[in-house]
Protein backbone atom coordinates (compact mmCIF):
# COMPACT_ATOMS: atom_id res chain seq x y z
CA UNK A 1 0.00 0.00 0.00
CA UNK A 2 2.63 2.54 1.05
CA UNK A 3 4.85 1.37 -1.81
CA UNK A 4 2.06 2.15 -4.28
CA UNK A 5 1.51 5.60 -2.75
CA UNK A 6 5.23 6.36 -3.01
CA UNK A 7 5.45 5.08 -6.59
CA UNK A 8 2.49 7.18 -7.77
CA UNK A 9 3.73 10.27 -5.89
CA UNK A 10 7.25 10.06 -7.30
CA UNK A 11 5.91 9.50 -10.82
CA UNK A 12 3.58 12.52 -10.59
CA UNK A 13 6.33 14.68 -9.08
CA UNK A 14 8.78 13.66 -11.79
CA UNK A 15 6.22 14.45 -14.49
CA UNK A 16 5.60 17.90 -12.98
CA UNK A 17 9.32 18.63 -12.77
CA UNK A 18 9.91 17.52 -16.37
CA UNK A 19 7.10 19.84 -17.54
CA UNK A 20 8.69 22.65 -15.49
CA UNK A 21 12.05 21.98 -17.17
CA UNK A 22 10.37 22.08 -20.60
CA UNK A 23 8.82 25.46 -19.77
CA UNK A 24 12.24 26.78 -18.71
CA UNK A 25 13.73 25.55 -22.00
CA UNK A 26 10.91 27.31 -23.85
CA UNK A 27 11.85 30.55 -22.06
CA UNK A 28 15.51 30.05 -23.01
CA UNK A 29 14.56 29.56 -26.67
CA UNK A 30 12.09 32.44 -26.76
CA UNK A 31 14.28 35.13 -25.20
CA UNK A 32 13.64 38.00 -25.83
CA UNK A 33 16.88 39.30 -24.27
CA UNK A 34 20.02 37.73 -22.85
CA UNK A 35 19.02 38.13 -19.20
CA UNK A 36 15.81 36.16 -19.83
CA UNK A 37 17.86 33.28 -21.20
CA UNK A 38 20.18 33.34 -18.18
CA UNK A 39 17.18 33.30 -15.84
CA UNK A 40 15.74 30.35 -17.76
CA UNK A 41 19.06 28.52 -17.44
CA UNK A 42 19.09 29.10 -13.68
CA UNK A 43 15.54 27.74 -13.39
CA UNK A 44 16.53 24.73 -15.50
CA UNK A 45 19.42 23.96 -13.13
CA UNK A 46 17.21 24.13 -10.03
CA UNK A 47 14.53 21.95 -11.62
CA UNK A 48 17.10 19.34 -12.67
CA UNK A 49 18.42 19.29 -9.11
CA UNK A 50 14.95 18.67 -7.67
CA UNK A 51 14.35 15.98 -10.31
CA UNK A 52 17.51 14.17 -9.16
CA UNK A 53 16.42 14.31 -5.50
CA UNK A 54 13.03 12.88 -6.50
CA UNK A 55 14.76 10.14 -8.47
CA UNK A 56 16.84 9.32 -5.38
CA UNK A 57 13.65 8.85 -3.36
CA UNK A 58 12.21 6.62 -6.08
CA UNK A 59 15.23 4.33 -6.33
CA UNK A 60 16.02 4.52 -2.61
CA UNK A 61 19.73 5.16 -3.12
CA UNK A 62 21.84 7.90 -1.52
CA UNK A 63 23.97 8.22 -4.66
CA UNK A 64 21.75 10.86 -6.25
CA UNK A 65 22.38 13.27 -3.38
CA UNK A 66 25.94 13.96 -4.51
CA UNK A 67 24.88 14.48 -8.13
CA UNK A 68 22.22 17.00 -7.11
CA UNK A 69 24.71 18.83 -4.86
CA UNK A 70 27.15 19.14 -7.77
CA UNK A 71 24.39 20.40 -10.06
CA UNK A 72 23.45 23.01 -7.46
CA UNK A 73 27.02 24.28 -7.15
CA UNK A 74 27.53 24.37 -10.93
CA UNK A 75 24.25 26.23 -11.45
CA UNK A 76 25.21 28.86 -8.88
CA UNK A 77 28.66 29.45 -10.36
CA UNK A 78 27.49 29.52 -13.98
CA UNK A 79 24.61 31.92 -13.33
CA UNK A 80 26.92 34.18 -11.32
CA UNK A 81 29.51 34.21 -14.12
CA UNK A 82 26.88 34.92 -16.79
CA UNK A 83 25.33 37.76 -14.76
CA UNK A 84 28.76 39.29 -14.23
CA UNK A 85 29.43 38.98 -17.95
CA UNK A 86 26.14 40.72 -18.80
CA UNK A 87 27.00 43.58 -16.47
CA UNK A 88 30.62 44.26 -17.35
CA UNK A 89 31.41 42.37 -20.55
CA UNK A 90 34.01 40.24 -18.75
CA UNK A 91 33.87 37.77 -15.89
CA UNK A 92 37.08 38.47 -13.97
CA UNK A 93 38.40 41.99 -14.14
Amino acid sequence: MSGTILLVATLVAQGMLVIAMLLAVLRILRGPRAQDRVLGLDTLYVNAMLLLITMGIRTGSIFFFEASLIIGVLGFVSTLALAKFLMRGEVIE
Binding site: S2, P32, R33, T43, M49, I57, F76, M87
Partner: protein
Protein backbone atom coordinates in the same frame (compact mmCIF):
# COMPACT_ATOMS: atom_id res chain seq x y z
CA UNK B 1 12.27 -0.37 -1.83
CA UNK B 2 11.65 -1.12 1.85
CA UNK B 3 8.11 -0.97 3.12
CA UNK B 4 7.39 2.27 4.94
CA UNK B 5 4.60 2.82 7.49
CA UNK B 6 1.53 4.35 5.95
CA UNK B 7 1.79 7.75 7.67
CA UNK B 8 5.40 8.13 6.49
CA UNK B 9 4.46 7.26 2.90
CA UNK B 10 1.62 9.79 2.98
CA UNK B 11 3.92 12.49 4.42
CA UNK B 12 6.61 11.81 1.79
CA UNK B 13 4.02 11.84 -1.01
CA UNK B 14 2.48 15.08 0.27
CA UNK B 15 5.82 16.90 0.42
CA UNK B 16 6.88 15.56 -2.98
CA UNK B 17 3.69 16.71 -4.69
CA UNK B 18 3.84 20.07 -2.88
CA UNK B 19 7.43 20.73 -3.95
CA UNK B 20 6.98 19.64 -7.54
CA UNK B 21 3.71 21.57 -7.86
CA UNK B 22 5.26 24.80 -6.55
CA UNK B 23 8.21 24.38 -8.90
CA UNK B 24 5.82 23.86 -11.81
CA UNK B 25 3.85 27.00 -10.87
CA UNK B 26 7.12 28.95 -10.75
CA UNK B 27 8.12 27.77 -14.21
CA UNK B 28 4.67 28.62 -15.60
CA UNK B 29 5.14 32.09 -14.15
CA UNK B 30 8.57 32.32 -15.77
CA UNK B 31 6.95 31.64 -19.12
CA UNK B 32 3.84 33.78 -18.74
CA UNK B 33 4.81 36.99 -16.88
CA UNK B 34 5.27 39.96 -19.12
CA UNK B 35 8.44 41.91 -18.26
CA UNK B 36 11.85 40.66 -17.15
CA UNK B 37 11.54 42.25 -13.71
CA UNK B 38 8.28 40.35 -13.15
CA UNK B 39 9.81 37.12 -14.39
CA UNK B 40 12.70 37.48 -11.95
CA UNK B 41 10.33 36.66 -9.08
CA UNK B 42 8.72 33.54 -10.49
CA UNK B 43 11.52 30.89 -10.15
CA UNK B 44 12.02 31.75 -6.47
CA UNK B 45 8.86 29.71 -5.82
CA UNK B 46 10.85 26.66 -6.86
CA UNK B 47 13.98 27.60 -4.95
CA UNK B 48 12.24 28.35 -1.64
CA UNK B 49 9.39 25.98 -0.83
CA UNK B 50 9.79 23.82 -3.91
CA UNK B 51 13.31 22.79 -2.91
CA UNK B 52 12.52 22.73 0.81
CA UNK B 53 9.51 20.42 0.46
CA UNK B 54 11.38 18.01 -1.82
CA UNK B 55 14.31 17.93 0.62
CA UNK B 56 11.96 17.36 3.57
CA UNK B 57 10.40 14.43 1.70
CA UNK B 58 13.88 13.00 1.09
CA UNK B 59 14.88 13.45 4.76
CA UNK B 60 11.70 11.73 6.00
CA UNK B 61 12.05 8.88 3.50
CA UNK B 62 15.70 8.06 4.19
CA UNK B 63 15.41 8.59 7.96
CA UNK B 64 12.61 6.04 8.22
CA UNK B 65 13.80 3.50 5.65
CA UNK B 66 17.33 3.37 7.14
CA UNK B 67 16.20 3.64 10.80
CA UNK B 68 18.64 6.44 11.59
CA UNK B 69 18.62 10.22 11.23
CA UNK B 70 19.73 11.17 7.70
CA UNK B 71 20.12 14.93 7.49
CA UNK B 72 22.64 15.42 4.71
CA UNK B 73 19.97 16.61 2.25
CA UNK B 74 19.57 19.72 4.38
CA UNK B 75 22.99 20.81 3.09
CA UNK B 76 21.42 21.31 -0.35
CA UNK B 77 18.58 23.30 1.20
CA UNK B 78 20.96 25.54 3.13
CA UNK B 79 23.10 26.07 0.02
CA UNK B 80 20.09 26.94 -2.16
CA UNK B 81 18.75 29.35 0.47
CA UNK B 82 22.12 31.13 0.57
CA UNK B 83 22.91 31.29 -3.14
CA UNK B 84 19.58 32.09 -4.83
CA UNK B 85 19.26 35.68 -3.51
CA UNK B 86 22.86 36.39 -4.54
CA UNK B 87 22.42 35.18 -8.13
CA UNK B 88 19.02 36.79 -8.67
CA UNK B 89 20.06 40.15 -7.23
CA UNK B 90 23.18 40.16 -9.39
CA UNK B 91 21.11 39.23 -12.46
CA UNK B 92 18.57 41.95 -11.72
CA UNK B 93 21.30 44.54 -11.31
CA UNK B 94 22.88 43.42 -14.58
CA UNK B 95 19.54 43.78 -16.37
CA UNK B 96 19.00 47.22 -14.81
CA UNK B 97 22.50 48.28 -15.87
CA UNK B 98 21.86 47.13 -19.45
CA UNK B 99 18.48 48.90 -19.59
CA UNK B 100 19.95 52.13 -18.25
CA UNK B 101 22.92 52.08 -20.60
CA UNK B 102 20.54 51.71 -23.55
CA UNK B 103 18.31 54.53 -22.24
CA UNK B 104 15.21 52.36 -22.23
CA UNK B 105 12.63 52.97 -19.49
CA UNK B 106 13.33 50.83 -16.44
CA UNK B 107 10.06 48.90 -16.51
CA UNK B 108 9.45 48.42 -20.19
CA UNK B 109 5.95 47.66 -21.42
CA UNK B 110 7.52 46.90 -24.80
CA UNK B 111 9.42 43.95 -23.33
CA UNK B 112 6.61 41.55 -24.21
CA UNK B 113 7.02 38.65 -26.59
Amino acid sequence: MTELPLWAAIAVAFFLILGAGLTLIGSIGLLRLRSFYDRLHAPTLGTSWGALATILASVIFFSISERRLVLHDLVIGFFIMCTTPVTLMLLGRAALYRDRSENTPVVTPSDTE
